[in-house]
Symmetry: C2
Subunit: 320 residues, 2 copies
């Protein structure tokens, strides 16, 4: 994906340097863990979207920089907090956690990164940026909690699933696109279209992630295949299979099991594949991609407009 | 303490009602856990300080209400996150956690409460309130992380201890006093004095807590005595004893032990008491109380001025 960002490469390098600067703290433990976390990488997708959004306005890196850095800090904070494990929940599914640090430090580091993002956002007081991100951060938590309360709930609907992934993934990507434009004084018509673009791309991105969880090679994904099924997280392919597979009772039984063997996980994935759950999910992702690209059509023909379309296509391209 | 708040009783009731309103969420699990947390009580010290601070300005409840609610949400978020336990750390000391929820939910609930506070603080855009609280929240995390990295560090100095408790406790109380005044348009001379008052009271409050951890009856404290010693948290009485006790080597040995028996904890407390560690700590707390009250002298003689002095005295009164 990184090749797509050529137009903002030098700006992304500034973001990267600033990220490392921001997490320096008086306490070496804090600096070391936060720096390690940053250097562990990441696609910097949210900063990139904010920079690209900014290109639809009167772009200056200094206008977007605090926002771009803040967005990545917020994203990283949610990742670290997502790594906090409930011992009562590892019973369900064999969750493997890259436990570099313990739960307690992860919690505080996440809070610290989030707090640093707030300091950066102070420079946008009086704009929509702080309230939009406040609202987004609350809704992201709602999504996380809902994912826990809805795990192993095989009665959940498509609507439940979309509600959840919108909060979990789409809203922050959506905000990244919109707020980058706002930071560079783009007019409402533009930043609202970018917000919708980001939402659709974010939805497609999460659906694709949920598909990849069942199809990717383990080495590429960096984690064991079928992680969602192991944890009882009901994703789109599962919802489809529960509604459409001839083996409904069997897959229901497999999904509901608290401790699944590898064979049981593979069997569940196999049933989902056989009934067309992955193709269906892929089609839904593709529909979001189309909607995303359509949102861009009325926008001014700045060079990054094509980049945003290519990024959208790339997200669906990585489907299988 | 609650009797001291008579002048703001009705306002505190409004804060209480608003707190319950704010945590209502679409997901019952989220609403239930957050509501349970609220109803579990707490002294609402930070909202009270913000209301009292507001009385030094042109007080209107609607001006302070979002701030007062936000302060309690931030405080609660830190409490919930502080309850997240690292299994690797329960090895050290017999930490008892009121584990109503697991780690994962605690993390997300904390984030949710914090996020809700940000939404409330949006109404203060353009004032010092959001940046001061952003800065405070980062420093609070620094304090928490530092407490972890400094645990079992018997070489730490008084300076280390004050650095830590300032971040852990004093800064948010300090901000509560100051920002309540700012929300009600009190002049800088006033809100800066209140900030210093809050800092001194907060320092005394935490020192007193650290003393009570060694002296209070278990039923009153609601947790086993000597919790800090069990967890390797080096507090003021310990630092004093390490520097002044004739039994230095023995207490050093006891403090450094990872798994302490009840007898060993009591023995350590007994050495600390014998060498005057509690009286010393109490004198330091008392000095902060005096400084806090002095800060109030130049301020206008509004009725709550005496209340703030009484609150300061109450904090030192509960020393033994």
């Amino acid at each position: 994906m990184i090749k797509l960002f050529d137009e903002i490469r030098s700006d992304l390098e500034i973001v990267e340097a600033e990220l490392l600067e921001v997490v320096k703290a008086p306490d070496p433990l804090l600096t070391d863990t936060a720096t390690h976390l940053l250097k562990a990488g990441g696609k910097r997708l949210r900063p990139a979207f904010s920079l690209l959004g900014g290109k639809f306005g009167d772009f200056e890196i200094k206008k977007v920089l605090p926002l771009a850095v803040a967005l990545e800090l917020i994203h990283m904070a949610t990742l670290v907090h997502d790594d906090v494990v409930d011992s009562a929940m590892t019973r369900r599914g064999v969750r493997t956690v890259k436990a570099m640090w313990g739960n307690k430090i992860s919690t505080h580091i996440g809070d610290y990164l989030f707090g640093q993002s707030l300091i950066l956002l102070s420079s946008y007081q009086g704009t929509m940026i702080p309230p939009v991100l406040a609202d987004t951060s609350v809704k992201m938590c709602e999504g996380e909690i809902y994912q826990i309360s809805a795990s192993y709930d095989t009665d959940q609907t498509l609507r439940d699933y979309f509600y959840r992934i919108k909060r979990k993934t789409a809203l922050l990507i959506s905000a990244s696109c919109q707020l980058g434009a706002i930071a560079c004084d783009a007019p409402p018509k533009t930043h609202l279209a970018l917000r919708r673009y980001g939402n659709h791309v974010g939805m497609a991105f999460q659906i694709t992630d949920d598909i990849l969880d069942m199809t990717a090679e383990q080495t590429r994904l960096g984690k064991p295949i079928g992680g969602d099924i192991r944890q009882g997280i009901i994703t789109l392919p599962v919802i489809y299979a529960l509604a459409n597979s001839a083996d409904r009772d069997h897959i229901l039984h497999l999904i509901n099991k608290e401790n699944k063997s590898n064979e049981e996980v593979f069997e569940a994935i196999s049933i989902i594949k056989d009934c067309g759950g992955l193709e269906y999910s892929s089609r839904i992702a593709q529909r979001y991609i189309s909607k995303a690209k359509q949102e861009l059509n009325p926008l001014p023909d700045v060079p990054v407009k094509e980049t945003l379309k290519t990024i959208a296509d790339f997200i669906s391209f990585r489907n299988f």
